[in-house]
């Protein structure tokens, strides 16, 4: 039973809530709410001045209605009035209302700020905390302007009570986050760092959050916190579980504080001072050791708290990336967690290992777990865990295991959740390109991607495979042959038709010698898909057809007949119609030489960073792709040109004067050469 049902309960509120719960339908609920709103409105407008209790009750009812999901457009004035009451509960409800229903009316803001100011200077710690809370909850610019200079003073003043200090620290943090320009560094900053040494653990807990945020923006100003943090951490880690009493959580000493200290240390590089560094390394080793000891309690809270500290310590070790011994130990610990009974731990271990994989010290150690990770990908029931496993495979991929990893990811893709397919496709495409030694493997992989997850293969991916095939002589024949075979499938994805159409248009001649893939066979194959495709694909196919006329004069009559028919030259789509008409004309009037020049083989594409990487980054956010990876890709972009010397010919070809106005867009399928 609630501890405070003794007469305060705001009976009217409880009755109202009961009524709402008893409503049988949405309409009944709305009706009841409107009735109440009308009642409250009349009470607020009435001549009789409401007493504090009633005001509180009605404001609370309004709050309840708002939290149910209905809009409230009055009551702010009454809530603001409650703020100036001397009764704590009335103030409390007033503050709650205005924190939840933030209003930007400037008159109200002025009144609210005034009330807050009074409470802050009241010397009553409970009132001060209420006011600080409100500022932290709302965190508006106006409040920052009014109070940003006052709060630091309260925070470091000697006579401030602990509870107020806690609130002040976190309030200042909120203001700093929303209006950093208004919180100026000053003499209070050094005093704030010393709060790390405060006797009251609650004050330390609150202060650390503030200091962590400040350090990120002003590292030099706050760097003295590092040694203080290390000594605090060291004291906690080496304490017996009875030392910290109230701050021990299920036999784990001060887990929140420990995690925060470890987090703070991640804002700085490893300490330069030998003694401090030594102490810290000792701490980390103790934490790693404790993980191997038998647990003091069977409760999940105990193991969660203990492991929370362990994972944060591992994050710190990874961040430093300079102690090989610790890194290897961290990797081994995570390896153990990979096979743990608890799903949460497996999930976190996979996540942590992803960051570990990019460290040069531990990359090899991470790779040793590849079988476990692949197994997780295949057998984990929880899709979020499977996704982490896929992420880890991506992170640990290098030349030595690329083929294996790409194969596993492709097979995973066949049954993967639709929501993650696009990202998986991008990743496989990136890996295949980055680690391809043999480009026919690369071509196979991309075509497999299209076959398995065609809908999720974005333009960047299939443009890229075409770019690479164009630039590499050694893989053109293979590409033509493979694409030809892939198109034989009765139901093939439209993206496959696009790639196939383009490649056969450029390199169909390389397989035309074989009677099974003679020019007419190729044309019929492509044309059989024609009517199933969307307009852009058909446009691409028409371009392929004109290229065929150039490559294989014996197909000219057949193709011209196709171009000539009404469905092409009178097609309702402007682009298709124009292409059909122009290609038909071109094929009729141009001499063989002119035709050959106009439809010459596509020149190689200039070196450029893969747009796939950019797309993945955009999709996942900046954290997804490490900087080194981006740089690697830039270097390896040189491989795009396949080493074959194209020399001056390419420049000449590019400069050739195309006779028709928008022919370049036709040949280049609209977008391939444009920088996106």
């Amino acid at each position: 039973m609630p501890a405070v049902s003794k007469g305060d309960g705001m009976r009217g509120l409880a009755v109202f809530i009961s009524d709402i719960r008893n409503c049988k339908s949405k309409e009944a609920e709305i009706k009841r709410i409107n009735k109440e709103l009308a009642n409250i409105r009349s009470k607020f407008k009435g001549d009789k001045a409401l007493d504090g209790y009633s005001k509180k009750k009605y404001v609370c009812k309004l709050l309840f209605i708002f939290l149910l999901g209905h809009d409230i457009d009055f009551g702010h004035m009454e809530a603001v009035n409650l703020l100036s009451s001397n009764k704590y509960t009335e103030k409390q409800i007033g503050y709650l209302f205005i924190s939840v229903l933030v209003n930007s009316n400037s008159e109200l803001i002025r009144l609210i700020n005034n009330a807050i100011k009074n409470d802050l200077s009241s010397r009553n710690p409970t009132f001060m905390c209420l006011a600080l809370h409100c500022i932290a909850n709302v965190g508006s610019r106006e409040m920052a302007e009014a109070f940003a200079s006052e709060i630091p003073r309260i925070l470091v003043a000697g006579d401030t009570m602990d509870s107020v200090k806690q609130s002040a620290a976190l309030c200042l943090l909120r203001l700093y986050k929303t209006s950093p320009d208004l919180v100026l560094m000053g003499e209070w900053t050094s005093r704030v760092v010393h709060l790390l040494n405060d006797q009251h653990m609650g004050v330390v807990t609150a202060a650390i959050s503030l200091i962590t945020c400040l350090s990120q923006k002003n590292p030099d100003e706050f760097k003295t916190c590092v040694s203080l943090a290390v000594s605090r951490l060291s004291r906690i880690v080496s304490s017996a579980s009875t030392d910290l009493q109230d701050y021990t959580y299920y036999f784990v000493p001060a887990p929140w504080l420990s995690c925060k200290l470890l987090r703070l240390l991640q804002c700085y590089p490893p300490p330069e001072d030998g003694a401090v560094k030594g102490r810290l390394v000792e701490c980390l080793e103790t934490i790693l050791n404790k993980a191997q000891e038998p647990p003091k309690s069977k409760k999940v809270q105990h193991s969660n708290a203990k492991n929370a500290i362990l994972f944060e310590a591992i994050s710190l070790i990874i961040h430093y990336d300079s102690e090989p011994n610790l890194l290897v130990r961290a990797c081994n610990q995570l390896g153990q967690f990979l096979q743990h009974r608890e799903t949460n731990l497996r999930y976190l271990a996979l996540e942590s290992m992803c960051t570990l994989a990019s460290s040069e010290f531990s990359h090899e150690a991470v790779k040793t777990h590849i079988e476990t990770v692949i197994n997780a990908l295949k057998t984990e029931r929880d899709v979020s865990v499977r996704q982490r496993a896929a992420d880890l495979l991506y992170a640990m991929c290098d030349r030595s295991n690329a083929k294996q990893i790409v194969a596993e990811m492709l097979s995973y893709l066949e049954t993967a959740d639709y929501s993650i397919r696009e990202e998986m496709v991008l990743k496989v495409a990136i890996l295949a390109e980055k680690y391809a030694v043999d480009y026919s493997w690369y071509v196979d992989t991309i075509l497999n991607l299209i076959r398995i997850a065609g809908d999720y293969v974005s333009e960047e991916v299939w443009y890229r495979v075409i770019q690479i095939v164009i630039n590499r002589d050694d893989v053109q024949g293979y590409a033509a042959k493979t694409v030809f075979e892939a198109l034989q499938a009765p139901a093939c994805h439209e993206n496959m038709v696009k790639v196939g159409g383009y490649i056969l248009g450029e390199f169909g001649n390389l397989i035309a010698g074989d009677p099974r893939s003679s020019p007419l066979v190729q044309f019929n194959l492509l044309h059989s898909k024609f009517h199933l495709c969307s307009v852009p694909t058909r446009a691409l196919l028409l371009s392929a057809y004109i290229k065929f006329i150039n490559l294989f004069p014996e197909t000219k009559t057949t193709i011209q007949e196709v171009l000539r028919c009404d469905s092409q030259i009178r097609n309702s789509d402007v682009e298709l119609q124009q292409r059909a008409v122009e290609y038909l004309k071109l094929s009729s009037i141009a001499s063989t030489d002119v035709l050959a020049t106009v439809l010459e083989e596509m020149p190689p594409f200039p070196e450029r960073e893969s747009s796939i990487l950019a797309k993945l980054k955009k999709k996942k956010g900046p954290g997804a792709v490490s900087v080194t990876e981006l740089e690697d890709n830039k270097r390896e972009g040189g491989e795009l040109n396949g080493g074959a010397d194209r020399g001056p010919d390419s420049a000449a070809m590019a400069a050739k004067n195309r006779p028709m106005s928008n022919f370049s867009t036709h040949c280049h399928s609209g977008k391939i050469t444009n920088n996106r």
Binding site: P2, F64, L67, S163, Q166, S167, N344
Partner: protein, 158 residues
Amino acid sequence: MMRFMLLFSRQGKLRLQKWYTATAERDKKKMVRDLMQIVLARKPKMCSFLEWRDLKIVYKRYASLYFCCAVEEQDNELITLEVIHRFVELLDKYFGSVCELDIIFNFEKAYFILDEFLMGGEIQDTSKKSVLKAIEQSDLLQEEDESPRSVLEEMGLA
């Protein structure tokens, strides 16, 4: 920091919502709907964490209520799970074997307890004793406030 905390029932009724960043009402409603759908679809044996937009979601079910927190990329998931547990412990201690009805009928108290414990998305004090003491102190103040009301006053007749 924590961006927001939601408490909702298996039927998708929102019992508490605390937002630690300024967000438009319209966006809040959309996020709540979205997230409730995702979390309610998860099976019991699945892990307590998932990625959603650019945030990490940590959730746990206690009886009929789902406690769901959104934290930032660099936050520690396991400790957030224990933040949820600590909050449940506080509610339990305060209400005495808390159940969903307690939170429905005393919603403002649930917000007050949460506010003593978390501020601006960060933990204030992790000592259960301190937090409960602070709440009890305010309750005492409340009782002092409430001057006894006569029956006539209650009925609005005096």
